[in-house]
């Protein structure tokens, strides 16, 4: 989005500073008078919500690290001490643990928003791929974080997921074992493993922070997509980010925080697993290992394939396929709102993902396995077959003439005053 910042330094100090480090000018241009499409709906508030989630996880995480002991002997007890003894530890710990789930709720809505409105299409391919990378790093961070309380689910979750890499033995014998022992720092998951996971769990959020900065940068080059999928063509298609988009983001964030706080204060353990309040025991596998809810769809894909290597490949491909979405979608129209056929397939994808999430928590037997396979096949077919084919055969609905034409009554010109001086209207 080419536009110049309307920043005007007010004091002589601000002017002096602006000549030396124009950071206020940059921020003003990118986050105050940045043009945002005037028709954004509440699904567009999740970018801001996610930024909040990342900052909140880092803030609560730094506090927790002041009280946590990353050793096999003390980890479990130190988490309990945080919950019982540390001043406000119960609250900060709940914010962090529930925060991970909230982060994933928001990111899944954000991803499906992008898929529905075609936010991955040119010129936003790099923006989208950065988003996939963020999702991947988020999953790694959450996985390592879940290991830290060193309960039974922590221990066995780490055992199962790190063992995924031993499937490399089926390609080159010995490589898988070497990789897994390298990850563990031993011949089984141990305190050594916990220690390095803690170190990486502290590092990765800052990697995420960098990726998010690139994601926002790429967003501000291409500009935001919007429910019509049309580009901003005239000045009246856009409103300045402040106060319009910022106010809407704030409403969305507060609504989200109500849900967040409800879990933190009333259902802090609802999204976790009771077995994780039993200390890790390398000799007893819990009867039913389930990952955190946000990994369940991928876990269901892993178990749907009746071969170890195949399952692992399918699971990682389920994420990797997202990278190619900008090129798999052949439609000229971005938004599914104007794609009568694709719209149905989109909802089938949503149903498949929710279905896989449900099946991931069920034991791998009988009808559960069959349904996992059906949904897994649909998941991949959606991206690899339906996206390219439907884009070619579908006749899209007529697009509105412009963003403003889609939201303003026809005939009335765009109220220019709203753009430049909302307070004088």
């Amino acid at each position: 989005m080419e536009h110049s910042s309307s920043y005007e330094p007010k004091s002589s100090f601000a002017k002096w500073w602006d000549d030396r480090l124009p950071i206020a000018r940059l921020m003003h241009g990118q986050f105050v008078d940045f043009p945002t499409p005037r028709n954004l709906n509440y699904l567009w508030t999740f970018g801001g919500i996610l930024t909040f989630c990342l900052v909140a996880q880092i803030a609560t995480g730094i506090v927790l690290a002041m009280h946590y002991q990353p050793s096999a002997a003390d980890a479990f007890n130190s988490v309990e001490a945080i919950r019982r003894d540390v001043n406000y530890g119960w609250m900060i710990r709940n914010f962090h643990a529930v925060g991970a789930s909230m982060f994933f709720i928001a990111v899944y809505i954000h991803i499906f928003r992008g898929l529905y409105y075609g936010s991955y299409k040119a010129p936003r391919e790099v923006l989208w791929i950065l988003g996939v990378l963020i999702f991947l790093v988020m999953m790694a961070t959450a996985f390592m974080g879940y290991a830290l309380p060193w309960g039974q689910m922590s221990f066995w979750g780490v055992t199962v997921i790190t063992n995924l890499f031993s499937s490399l033995n089926e390609i080159i014998p010995g490589v898988g074992t070497a990789v897994v022992e390298w990850l563990w720092g031993g011949y089984s998951v141990s305190g050594t493993t916990l220690n390095r996971f803690f170190s990486l769990h502290y590092l990765l959020p800052f990697v995420l922070f960098g990726l998010v900065a690139l994601h926002i940068w790429a967003l501000h080059v291409a500009g935001q997509n919007n429910p019509t999928g049309l580009d901003i063509k005239t000045k009246s298609d856009a409103v300045p980010m402040y106060p319009y988009a910022v106010a809407k983001d704030a409403v969305g964030l507060f609504a989200f925080l109500i849900l967040f706080a409800w879990f933190v204060f009333f259902l802090p353990d609802y999204l976790g697993h009771a077995d994780n309040y039993t200390e890790a025991n390398p000799l007893v596998t819990p009867p039913h290992i389930v990952p955190e809810w946000y990994f369940l769809p991928f876990y269901a894909i892993l178990r749907a394939i009746p071969s170890k290597l195949g399952g692992v490949i399918a699971m990682f491909s389920a994420i990797a396929v997202l990278v190619f979405v900008p090129w798999l979608d052949t439609s000229r129209v971005r938004s599914a709102k104007y794609r009568p056929l694709y719209k149905w397939f989109f909802w089938l994808l949503v149903i498949s993902c929710v279905g896989l999430g449900y099946l991931g928590a069920k034991p791998p037997e009988g009808a559960y396995v069959i349904w996992s396979r059906i949904f897994t096949i649909y998941y991949f077919a959606h991206f690899l077959l339906i996206m390219p084919i439907v884009g070619l055969i579908e006749t899209p609905k007529t697009l509105p003439k412009s963003i403003s034409a889609s939201v303003l009554p026809s005939g009335s010109g765009a109220p220019q005053g709203a753009v430049t001086a909302p307070e004088t209207r």
Binding site: W156, N163, S167, W184, S188, P364
Partner: protein, 190 residues
């Protein structure tokens, strides 16, 4: 007098040689940071354990620890041995004996997974070869799966009375660790 072409190729050589040395230096510096993650000397110290088998009655099983891994020791009944011995290797998903003391190509006959004359004693690393869970089947009340050996509750792998994979996602038979009988009723693992 050197021509310009020669000068350029000399310069190319210097650039390539310089970059190559820098790459070697970078790799040499990086290596310790990668290698530090491998099992350290303490973990590598090949601790061997001795286990007394005399309290384990026929049909019973015990679990020992070796290198942080659970070791399944089962005193098999005559029926269990017979069931294990009569299965043709062609019916097995994994045809290798997976005995650490025998070559990889050794067929997965029951006799290749136990010591001669001690075929009632089955000694295994009790880690599912799928994703590392501990299979059920050691305690009397446990479910032992469709083949009477072990059953992994995580993803539904069934092992037979020789610890060989028969059904489910696990790719390999349960591993037989290196061990020897130091006396009639005592084994040394490792």
């Amino acid at each position: 007098m050197a021509s310009e072409v020669e000068d350029t190729s000399r310069r190319d050589f210097l650039v390539i040689a310089g970059n190559a040395f820098a790459a070697v230096g970078a790799a040499a510096t990086l290596w310790p940071f990668v290698a530090q993650m491998n099992p350290d000397a303490g973990a590598q110290a090949l601790a061997s354990v001795e286990i007394d088998l005399s309290p384990v009655k026929e049909g019973q099983a015990i679990t020992a620890m070796w290198r942080g891994k659970p070791i399944f020791i089962r005193n098999r009944t005559a029926d269990e041995i017979k069931a294990a011995e009569t299965v043709p290797v062609a019916d097995l998903p994994d045809p290798s004996a997976r005995n650490d003391l025998l070559p990889e190509a050794t067929p997965a006959l029951d006799t290749n997974r136990v010591k001669e004359g001690k075929d009632n004693w089955l000694i295994l690393v009790g880690i599912c070869t799928h994703l590392g869970c501990i299979p059920k089947g050691q305690a009397m009340a446990d479910t032992r799966g469709d083949f009477g050996g072990w059953f992994c509750p995580c993803h539904g792998s069934h092992y037979d009375t020789s610890g060989r994979i028969r059904k489910g996602p696990a790719p390999r038979n349960l591993e037989v660790p290196p061990y020897e009988f130091v006396s009639d009723t005592k084994i040394k693992i490792g």
